[in-house]
Symmetry: C2
Subunit: 433 residues, 2 copies
């Protein structure tokens, strides 16, 4: 891996480089996505079946679009007992963590008859997009469905593209069934997003669409935002490791590669205060590259977006980490919790040399759907928060309103909203008459 | 106002009608907005000054784009003591309510060395858009700035278009200063949104842009979503009143009109179980129309999107209220809290005959920036939540990881992610060697 001193020049180039991966740059696909969405809106199921034939080469119709119980039973046999048991163990941890994210309705009352509060309601129906083909990750199915389930969503509608044989990946089906999907439809791509946003004969309209997908899916989600809610648009995966000379170079190297293997746009960055560690991590990376099965992808992603940066000080390392706002941040230093207090921007923070990033992908419990591409500056991990919404509660008595009614009327008048003022005034006109 | 029986036909027409007001329908403006955003991105301040000259007919440059302390002092004199004092009283209530929305970092630890948690961090820099001209509402300035301030945002950057004289509305400036805006720039429209999203020489890049605006501002916000976060895209205002025969027709009529006066796209709907109330509210509306200053706007908005619907039962009334998912919902019935328990979808719920909607706009404390156009199905009122984000915390010891390391490795292998499996495996290879 390239080793660079973290100076102003490196810093600027690096930040510009990483932003090139933004899904905002794929304008050329937009036209096709718009056409698909319009077709689904106007032609409904017919458009779904046509696009599934065209893109997935599968023959899907009203009769077979919905995954049957028989197909799920079959999937359990194909998935095998070991994976089923691991999925169940992971689910225990994932549910337990997300249970702690629950939010509750509250109110505050005063003896004058004022009640102010906030009512928390789960979304009613949610769509979960699950990619097919080589990106069919059962762990991702768990991570998208569990928070919705914990939030209390009444109906979870999953969509996923079928293979040419009209079947869905069995591991995906097992994960969906274990996590609690209520119904699964065999449709993918922008057409599936359109179906969830507008509703078709077969597929019901949902309130929110979550789940990762390719560029067509991402653009379709962005286009329907407003009709329905969406989760953050996922970009390529990222890891940033902050390490000092106490870190184990073999662990650091292995963790960098675990993200680099995702795809050629993935980014793996080490920022260290130790030149010695920088050198040794680079050596370990080379060694692993000789044995790992996905080394071709890894090599490309490291060439594109892999960096080992040597910082002058821990503060400088922390500073660049906050600026990059990485999806995954590992802190492998002598006092990792000290460093953690200074981190503003990161999707998930892994602390200490045994908190390896894949632990979070599969098993620890926190969600692995995390803000990418610098969006950890303002977005959060997928959570129960994404599947609830709030309504303000305002209850007032005559006594409470009377104390402030002239102030409200004057404020409304200052904004020239006379009917606003009037609606307060009429309640006290008997007094003024 | 038209009175209709709430049957299936009315219901469908009504829902279709309301959706016509969606900002998603204004595709024809998109091209202009895209050009403005591209200009701001490539030419920076120069583009800001040009567009401000073109659209606001004001001469703005590096020297005068930032509102000075002198201008703020001047604004206090122009606003007058009464308004300043009312703003301060309203601020006490608004701050107090939003303080209760604070969320806190938490962690959960186990004796085996596991620490899982969630770290809450305020966004660092936020942009608040404030409209100029006839829509210059100081109350809206308070509602957008206070939750950011309570969340702990370090820097609040406000933008608002200047008048031809290069000045900003004094009431806006007083509200901004009282609420705690850190810096105010005289620029509006899509160009202001672009400046906040990309940064220019004068205006710093922010993490999130909030605040209402015209169709150009709404489309610009949608376009930059992903580079920065945005609040929900605001549509025209709405009120829905659920009332039974116990309601005061004069209060109900006054409240309907308070929303109808906003603009011609505003919607005011009464759903009642009482034909008698329906008739009497309609009469009261006619009476108020003779005296209210904004009756021309009100008449148009009632013609477009005003309805009095007579429902068979309270359950039917509640059902249509949930389907419409109104921005403001008033419950004026004998047992309003019973009805409230059945409401799923509403921005703010006003309970009882003294909880008039304008009370919430100005004074009660809850935010008046609310989801519109059916988006209360999945969006929440603007709140402290909008100005924080979360990072997962994952700390593991060797002991804790050892118990599950083979499960994680097997899960990763099942997804063919061998470098993921490797990053766990290397930590225990000494044992296996």
């Amino acid at each position: 891996m390239r080793i660079q001193k973290l100076d102003r020049h490196t810093r600027r180039n690096l930040l510009e480089d990483l932003l090139k991966r933004s899904p905002n740059q794929y304008g050329s696909y937009e036209e096709g996505v718009t056409r698909i969405l319009e077709d689904v809106k106007s032609k409904g199921d017919e458009a779904l079946f046509e696009y599934t034939a065209k893109f997935d080469h599968a023959d899907i119709n009203e009769q077979n679009i919905r995954v049957t119980e028989e197909e799920i039973r079959e999937a359990y046999e194909l998935a095998g007992e070991e994976l089923i048991s691991i999925i169940r163990k992971a689910l225990v941890n994932i549910r337990s963590y997300h249970e702690k994210q629950r939010q509750y309705s509250w109110f505050d009352s005063k003896p004058d008859g004022t009640i102010l509060g906030q009512k928390v309601t789960a979304l009613q129906r949610v769509g979960v997009y699950v990619p097919g083909g080589k990106a069919a990750y059962p762990s991702s199915v768990l991570m998208n469905i569990v928070p919705a389930k914990v939030a209390g969503v009444e109906e979870i509608v999953m969509v996923t593209p079928p293979g040419k044989d009209g079947k869905v990946n069995p591991n995906t089906l097992v994960a969906a069934n274990e996590a609690g999907a209520d119904v699964i439809y065999k449709v993918g791509g922008a057409q599936a997003v359109g179906a969830l946003a507008y509703g078709t004969g077969c597929i019901p309209k949902v309130d929110k669409i979550v789940g990762p997908g390719n560029i067509y899916v991402a653009l379709a989600k962005k286009a329907v935002y407003g009709y329905v809610s969406i989760d953050a648009i996922a970009g390529p995966s990222e890891i940033l490791v902050i390490a000092d000379d106490s870190a184990n170079p073999r662990y650091v190297a292995a963790d960098l590669l675990s993200q680099a293997e995702h795809d050629e746009l993935a980014s793996a960055i080490l920022v260290t205060t130790s030149e010695e560690l920088a050198r040794r991590v680079s050596e370990e990376v080379d060694e692993f590259l000789g044995v790992l099965s996905r080394s071709e992808i890894i090599r490309k992603s490291l060439d594109n977006y892999g960096y080992i940066l040597v910082a002058e000080s821990m503060d400088e390392a922390i500073d660049i980490a906050n600026e990059i706002a990485s999806e995954h941040l590992e802190i492998q230093t002598r006092n990792p919790y000290d460093v953690m207090t200074k981190i503003r921007n990161a999707g998930a923070i892994f602390i200490g040399e045994y908190a390896s990033e894949p632990l979070g992908d599969y098993f620890a419990g926190p969600n692995h759907v995390l803000p990418t591409n610098g969006t950890a500056r303002f977005f959060s991990p997928l959570s129960v928060d994404d599947f609830i919404k709030k309504s303000s509660i305002i209850g007032y008595s005559r006594e409470a309103l009377e104390k402030i009614h002239t102030d409200i009327e004057a404020f409304a008048q200052a904004e020239h909203l006379t009917a606003h003022a009037n609606s307060i005034k009429v309640r006290f006109e008997d007094k003024e008459a």
